[in-house]
């Protein structure tokens, strides 16, 4: 972006719509045409068979013109939103005009009359075409530009709002902290968040396991104000099973942060080429596994259930006053593929 507000710049560069005087000139022309016809009709005692069809034609044109001017004057947004309705109206207007012309032709056998009428009608049409043709074209282009501009402005407002809520807030937090680790944690989390926002939906099966665990830990730190110490040994890319493990780590951390009554929780993860193991440990209150409150049990089950659905396991070691350790294990995708190949089952069940 260079200097100045880009939207303003673009607005300046856009061609202006037709000025009001040209539009009123067109309307005057139509009125004159109508008056001439009416006078001639009255003077030569021409039957309604000419006048009415012509009036119908005019009504048709009027409908079209009204729709277009309504689009420009009553605001682009409404017209654009009901673009189909607008098109339908214009089409209807044209149909009415055509119907009028046909009625005119059918009702008038007299060649002279037909010619006079045709000439008048032609004059009106040509006048209309001359005035409204370029104007219509310009209006349509104007509409398109306006639409693009609006989309752009909306997009930009959304970007500004998002950056304000995320990046700017994080930057001010980073400036206020002396703790380099906390600062880098904030920065890392912000980077991830920004990336996923910029490059589409949250990427659940990309990235590496360590940063996914750290991001999960950072979320819990933020939400519950506990310190999460993360130690990861080994490295590897996230796949579906390990994503489930990371999610279960998040559940276990949340659980510990909410119920253990401690201000620090440890996460240890060991990544081997075949599997990933994780331990989430607190030295807090613990609980009696045989006498769990319903909500507590729900959380434990959501950890176990999640791991089992992904083909892994979860053990929870705890006791009143003994702290809690959640042990999670899962095989990595590559290992499963190898096993499937060994079984001669290339597209096995992934559930």
């Amino acid at each position: 972006m260079t200097t100045g507000n880009p939207i303003e710049r673009l607005r300046r560069e856009l061609p202006n719509g037709l000025s009001n005087d040209r539009r009123s000139l067109g309307i005057i022309l139509i009125a004159i045409g109508g008056l001439v016809l009416a006078r001639r009709g009255a003077a030569e005692l021409l039957p309604a068979s000419i006048l009415w069809p012509l009036l119908i034609v005019l009504v048709g044109f009027g409908a079209v013109v009204w729709q277009v001017s309504k689009s420009t004057e009553a605001g682009m947004r409404g017209a654009l939103r009901d673009q189909r309705v607008a098109v339908a109206r214009i089409a209807l207007g044209c149909a009415v005009a055509l119907l009028g012309l046909l009625a005119f032709l059918a009702a008038n056998v007299s060649l002279a009359v037909l010619l006079t009428g045709l000439v008048a009608a032609l004059l009106v049409s040509v006048g209309l075409g001359l005035v409204f043709g370029p104007w219509l074209w310009l209006v349509l282009r104007d509409l398109r530009d306006e639409q693009r501009l609006r989309l752009w402005a909306d997009e930009r407002a959304e970007v500004a709002a998002h950056l304000h809520d995320s990046v700017l807030q994080t930057l001010s937090l980073i400036q206020r902290t002396d703790d380099a680790r906390e600062a880098s944690q904030l920065a890392r989390r912000q980077e991830r968040e920004l990336r996923s926002w910029l490059y589409g939906r949250e990427r659940t099966v990309e990235g590496d396991i360590e940063s996914a665990i750290e991001a999960t830990a950072a979320q819990v730190e933020d939400r519950f104000g506990v310190a999460v110490e993360v130690v990861v040994v080994g490295s590897g890319p996230l796949d579906e099973p390990t994503s489930a493990l990371v999610a279960a780590v998040g559940e276990a951390l949340t659980n510990a942060a909410k119920f253990a009554g401690v201000d620090r929780v440890s996460v240890y993860a060991e990544i081997t080429p075949t599997s990933v193991e994780a331990f989430v440990r607190d030295t807090g209150d613990g609980f009696d596994p045989t006498e769990v409150a319903d909500d507590r049990k729900g959380i434990a089950e959501s950890i176990r259930g999640r791991m089992q659905r992904a083909g892994g396991e979860a053990d929870i070691t705890t006791g009143l006053g003994e702290g809690t350790e959640v042990h999670l294990r899962i095989q990595r995708e590559s290992q499963r593929e190898m096993q499937r190949e060994q079984r001669g089952d290339p597209r096995g069940d992934t559930a």
């Binding site: 680790r181 040994v233 240890y268 060991e270």
Partner: protein
């Protein structure tokens, strides 16, 4: 090493606020005989005061904790270093431990744990934060090619178990209970690992540490 009087401690950290905080936390138990903010100042005050323990920040504005240890190495002083840092870069941590620090703790350590860690390094024990234990496991993992000297370049199963439990956040006492061994035996394993970490000739250690920084 055990003395009846209070341990004498020097704080080396370039953040004054942090030194103040640590002085407050340790001051009740130990004598904080001096503070230093950069490498040269640290070398001077440590040589002057000859403390029992130096709490040493890994990153200093004028250099690293390793520089401090190395500059004091030829003076033949009996000083124990405990590295203390916010850095979680393996390179820095491994560096300062290989230079001779008896342990490494992160700045998020609780007050009472820090008091305890200072006492333990003064008594000759090794102090591993979970992070350092994790680095050790990573550096000595089987994925790294065959070692030149198995005595120094490999961890025994027991040592690995101890490191794993340390990385999981267990204290020595809890590890003893978990493995059904005495706390003293846990200490012995930890010290053996520290020795291997310091003396292992495997060049992979440093290249591993450098690689890890990129992750």
């Amino acid at each position: 090493m055990s003395r009846s009087e209070r341990l004498r401690v020097v704080l080396v950290d370039d953040h004054e606020l942090f030194r103040k905080g640590v002085r407050h936390e340790l001051g009740q138990r130990y004598d904080i005989v001096a503070e230093a903010a950069d490498v040269d100042e640290a070398v001077d005050v440590i040589a002057d005061t000859q403390p029992d323990v130096v709490l040493l920040d890994v990153h200093l504005t004028s250099g690293t904790g390793r520089d401090v240890i190395e500059k004091l190495a030829d003076r033949d002083l009996d000083i124990t270093f405990l590295a203390l840092s916010v850095s979680d870069a393996a390179e820095d941590v491994i560096d300062v431990v290989r230079a001779g620090a008896r342990g490494y703790v992160t700045k998020s350590i609780k007050s009472d744990e820090l008091v305890d860690a200072v006492r333990r390094v003064a008594e000759g024990d090794a102090v591993f934060s979970p992070r350092l234990a994790g680095f050790v496991l990573d550096a000595f993992s089987a994925a790294v090619p065959a070692p030149a000297d198995p005595e120094l370049d490999l961890l025994t199963n027991r040592e690995q178990e101890v490191m794993r439990l340390l990385a999981r956040g267990y204290a020595y006492k809890e590890i003893g209970v978990k493995l059904s061994i005495s706390v003293k035996t846990v200490e012995t394993h930890a010290s053996a690992v520290l020795r291997k970490l310091q003396l292992s000739s495997r060049h992979e250690l440093s290249s591993w540490a450098a690689r890890r920084r990129l992750v």
